[in-house]
């Protein structure tokens, strides 16, 4: 089994963690931009299995933390979609990938370098935000609190709104609401059906899917070999 290496990239005066599998100077180096918020946790094991498989084929892969997620010490309430994109721009300069792969919320911020991009199951920011607002609404309801989406959004104007365990500022909420995958870059898009996949990001608990990981790795191998940079 290929062991990972632990890299970092510098952004905003902090060192952000980046998981790496494979030879660092391999000809193909794929940076994976993970989903955001809870969806990141629910897809991480599947992605790591993809990275392990790619390493076995001589392809390097990189999975950076976005500021405010996973090991990051950055304050999530000070982030916006814009700061995530800036962080990835820095990561791309410092880690020098040859290809970019993005999933779900990661597709909102994948146009950070002039490299071929492959997107899996892109999503609009507004749709991500709506699901998080709904789960907050339902959790409030179960707790006997009568809240509305308008009321929750308004509460962020005078502080933070807690969604899925993250304290989000008004600026962050607005930036998610307005975010959509860029169409002015060179990208390909694949659907879950193309890799025999299941939407692990929708699950209540993080799960694995070995078949999906294997098929996704196959897809990335073929794609990255055919669109060299």
């Amino acid at each position: 089994m290929t062991p990972p290496t632990f890299l970092t990239y510098d952004f905003g005066g902090q060192s952000e963690f980046c998981l790496c599998f494979g030879e660092r100077h391999a000809a193909r180096r794929i940076i994976i931009i993970p989903p955001v918020f809870d969806e990141m946790n629910r897809t991480r094991q599947m992605l790591v299995e993809v990275m392990r498989t790619l390493a076995g084929r001589g392809i390097c892969s990189l999975l950076p933390d976005l500021p405010g997620f996973n090991e990051s010490l950055a304050n999530i309430s000070k982030q916006t979609v814009g700061t995530w994109r800036q962080a990835l721009e820095e990561a791309a300069v410092q880690l020098n990938p040859t290809h970019i792969v993005s999933l779900r919320g990661g597709t909102l911020i994948d146009d950070v370098a002039d490299r071929p991009i492959l997107r899996l199951a892109p999503v609009k920011g507004a749709s991500l935000l709506k699901t998080m607002l709904r789960s907050r609404l339902l959790a409030d309801k179960e707790a006997g609190i009568n809240s509305t989406i308008e009321g929750l959004m308004a509460s962020a104007e005078s502080g933070f709104l807690e969604l899925s365990g993250y304290n989000l500022s008004d600026e962050m909420l607005q930036s998610i609401q307005d975010a959509a995958p860029s169409t002015s870059c060179q990208f390909q898009e694949i659907a879950l059906a193309d890799i025999d996949g299941t939407p692990l990001w929708l699950r209540a608990e993080p799960q694995d899917d070995a078949r999906m990981s294997a098929a996704f790795a196959d897809k990335l191998d073929v794609w990255s070999a055919t669109c060299a940079k």
Partner: protein
């Protein structure tokens, strides 16, 4: 060919709750959902609603959402059907 509302709801239950295709296929209109399926918590309900909107092309008002709607497979399909047919 387009999928029926019933088929789409079954596919969403499989995808969102991670239930097996066999388990969902064995469900009928009276199969209890909310309170009977441990996978169906409030987070999952939020995911179900958004997927229903995306895949059925409907809008769901959050004020319409209550426990009765998710009581059984039949009640969920009936709710979705009223939205689809407008």
């Amino acid at each position: 060919m387009s999928f029926t509302t019933q088929e789409t709801i079954r596919a969403i239950l499989t995808d969102v709750l991670g239930l097996s295709v066999d388990q969902v296929a064995a469900m009928d209109d009276d199969t209890e959902l909310f309170g009977a399926l441990p996978e169906l918590d409030s987070m999952a309900v939020a995911g179900l609603l958004t997927e229903m909107e995306d895949r059925l092309g409907i809008m769901i008002d959050d004020d319409d959402v209550d426990g009765d709607m998710f009581a059984t497979l039949g009640s969920l399909v009936a709710f979705a059907h009223t939205k689809v047919t407008g």
